[in-house]
Subunit: 179 residues, 2 copies
DNA sequence: CGCTAGGGTTAGGGTTCC
DNA sequence: TGGAACCCTAACCCTAGC
């Protein structure tokens, strides 16, 4: 693309700082239009100004490494009960982490590379479903089944097989049942 | 000012849909006032309703039923600061749950049945690696790369592509960086 | 004035480039 | 890998017109 990526010059940054000082943050269009700064910012959009200000703020004052959690519970969440009762859900949480201690011995013993239809490659399909249609609250069994059926060959008793796998993963802490 | 931006919850959306079904579009104030929906929409103005309906219509009619939603997961976040100078690791935690709101419209529509090489099917491979060689502390990038390379075709710049995906998943709370 | 329809702008998450 | 520049779009604002 013809996108050489336009780096910001110090004049532009200066103009932006002055503009914010005059109009306040959030008034990007006003700043961009202001004849006092426009000569320096003519090639920048109001959105560019906003983005640049965000970057400047981060690198400048942002020194609070901690405090990263999203929380923001400020939202009043009435959370009405009895909202359309439907099906039971499952959620997943695979957690894995590698430890620094290298352990040479392979214990997996997973059968082999035969990633055909059977084996724990079903796990992969499950995660594929969960990560592809990535719903905030997870997928119930039915949704997982239909997703997988659409793109893989599956045995006839698949649904049963799947729920077994799901339960297994949950006990292994790789999935998290959500409701 | 104290307006961190209020994202719409599914309850609110549902109430809005029901309100429109009952009063018709354009009757925003009526919907907002209706005691049947007001409990869900008390923090929204009639104008908010109108704007939201516009957004919903756009995304519904178009093509991208993209619905991300943030939703904060109360996941315990140990977050160890700068420890173990050795190698960095990654771990994963996918969490999904299905939401109760039933939506009649078929939303699967995920195009790509071509689950070939590209696309977010990489996510599936990542989870496959993590769940197959299921290490107590997760896998570092290199291990994931070699696992995947052994059983799938991958582009040459795969390692880079992978780390991008990993970062993405982490920000989505589907993976957890373990260190 | 109250309310709605639309166009305009901002906020913030996500993505790409280097 | 990480940060700076850029993109996307939900959420919010402004205003004409009824």
């Amino acid at each position: 693309m013809g996108n050489p990526k336009q780096k910001w010059t110090s004049e532009e940054e200066e103009a932006l700082r002055a503009g914010v000082a005059k109009h306040g943050t959030g008034k990007w269009k006003d700043i961009q239009r202001d004849p006092e700064f426009n000569p320096f910012l003519s090639s920048r959009s109001n959105i560019d100004l906003k983005d640049k200000w965000r970057n400047m703020s981060v690198s400048a004052g942002g020194q609070g490494p901690r405090e990263k959690s999203r929380s923001s519970k400020a939202k009043a969440n009435p959370d009405t009960p009895t909202t359309t009762p439907s099906s039971v859900q499952t959620s997943v949480a695979a957690s894995v982490a590698h430890d620094t201690a290298a352990d040479p011995n392979v214990d997996d013993s997973t059968k082999s590379l035969t990633d055909g239809k059977n084996a724990s490659s079903y796990n992969a399909m499950i995660f594929e479903a969960l990560s592809t249609l990535n719903e905030p609250n997870g997928l119930d069994t039915s949704k997982i089944v239909s997703f997988i059926e659409q793109r893989h060959e599956v045995p006839q008793n698949f649904r049963r097989l799947l729920s077994t796998r799901l339960r297994r993963l949950v006990t292994q802490d790789k999935l998290e049942k959500v409701v």
